[in-house]
Symmetry: C2
Subunit: 306 residues, 2 copies
């Protein structure tokens, strides 16, 4: 999105990924006026916080209007009440009072949330679920992220930890979850980039997907099998939450596209109860790599109450 008129007031949305971070200046119409990027990969906690501050300050300096608030989407377990990054798999954030630190260093109101929650909110408002008040997002990458929107609001649970569809077991007696999770047979064990690479017998999920696109039978089969497991997980979500739309994002899903989604959708519709089995839409995320940043900006615009 490109701004065409001067903005009266702006916010900054920050998507803090495991490899890089993106800070974007957005106005109240979500037009993006400036993007500031920083590396995140390999940084210690202090340097990572410095990089956040630097990216926000660069964005703030380039903004066409005063910045009202800053929203951060972080791939971590978040204690929503305390604004605390409790634990992150790919970033050095363990019991970091992220909101308080940023509020002090930036001198601005700061709202923090899980990055997948930010993406879910964004897809529900301006993406694949526009107009829907009931939405589930799954992002498939190294693991599975997720976010739930119910009655138009983020469903955060008791402390902000709700929305982990990747850690639904779909095989209670299955192998231990490969992530930092004590579960067994979690959806994430079968549906992820590393799982696809392993089942497809290649180094990366990208190679398996490319081979499947070229018609390699084993690769097509590996993607289809992952789609079926994903579909079983989506059926669970349909039966439990009856969303209007299930949005599947993340690098692996976006790259695989219909190769994956067709199987997931077919399986989900075959296994779920009516009326969700027929009525729910199951679609690829629309907003791509900027959904997290835009969702963080929405949180900032809304003052964190959404």
């Amino acid at each position: 999105m490109v701004a065409t008129v001067a903005a009266a007031s702006c916010v900054i949305g920050v998507d803090l990924g495991g490899t890089k971070l993106l800070a974007g200046v957005a106005d109240e119409h979500l037009a993006v006026h400036h993007r500031a990027y920083r590396q995140a990969l390999g940084l210690e906690t202090g340097d990572l916080l410095d990089a956040c501050v630097a990216a926000v300050e660069e964005a703030r300096a380039a903004a066409p209007a005063d910045i009202q608030a800053v929203g951060f989407g972080i791939p971590c377990l978040m204690d929503q009440e305390r604004g605390m990054a409790v634990m992150a798999v790919n970033l050095p954030l363990i019991d970091v009072p992220f909101r308080d630190i940023m509020t002090e260093r930036l001198g601005l109101p700061v709202i923090v949330d899980n990055d997948a929650n930010c993406a879910a909110l964004c897809e529900a408002r301006v993406g694949a679920g526009v107009g829907c008040s009931e939405l589930v997002l799954l992002t498939i990458g190294t693991g599975i992220g997720g976010g739930i929107v119910a009655r138009g609001h983020l469903q955060r649970g008791a402390s902000g930890a709700a929305g982990e569809p990747g850690h639904m077991t779909i095989d209670a007696d299955g192998p231990p979850c490969p992530g930092d999770c004590p579960g067994r047979g979690c959806l994430e064990a079968y549906v992820s980039g590393p799982a696809l690479a392993r089942v497809g017998g290649r180094d990366t999920a990208t190679e398996v997907i490319n081979a499947a696109r070229s018609g390699d039978a084993a690769a097509v089969e590996a993607v289809a099998k992952m789609g079926e497991k994903l579909g079983a997980g989506i059926a669970n979500l349909l039966n439990l939450l009856e969303p209007e739309v299930v949005v599947v994002g993340g690098g692996v899903a976006v790259h695989a596209g219909d190769l994956l989604l067709e199987h997931a959708e077919k399986t989900a519709r075959a296994r779920a109860l009516e009326p969700a089995a027929s009525n729910a839409r199951i679609v690829v995320a629309e907003l791509g790599i900027e959904a997290g940043m835009l969702g963080a900006a929405m949180l900032a615009l809304d003052g964190g109450v959404v």
Copy 2:
């Protein structure tokens, strides 16, 4: 609950079970002033609707004040927008415009909802989850019923069909679901009265539970195994919804009590992600057989907006 003062206005809550129905007059403090029972087992659709009307009229005649509205809790798939009983396993209600029929025949405002939703609301407000805004209820009987309360409201999904934890798969390649469900390896296939009877090698779940209470090793083992499967399902709910409390009700769970719940709780806490694994309470339902009727009365008191 017994009324001690005259009520200014009352509602009627009706719990429509597969074997009998209970209509109770409740005042705004949920004190119950009269209970009317009717048989439901074996009735055709028309006779069932007549029995509902007769029970409500009996209750209405005995009420200490004017009746403002009637709430019905029905064990069926409900189209919330149309007030339609779409499908029921144990009652002859298929595409019955229940709300419209009762509104016309009773001449009163009528609110309808799934019986487990009514029970969940009741447990959240005055039962095992009192003071909680995030609650999940599972009822274990012939099958599994369920209801979700989020932000203090019933979570109904797009059309009212949300809240079917019994149809989460916990074994994606497992046997077909025994219920009227196209899924495989659903929680209900492992956790129900019939499942316990089968695994315990007795005619009924009650016999297995009684044998377990008497120390029969095979029966103890059967209850424990069912508890572990239930725990795996509860872990899914903790990871997805992060409730403050998981309430387990229904005849089988209430009868088995800690024999079942201890295993379920241990498994759920071992498998779920923090902080829900430590923080969520996992408890037996408090309100017993009147939770559905009281929850239906709450819906009537609230005008169906909860």
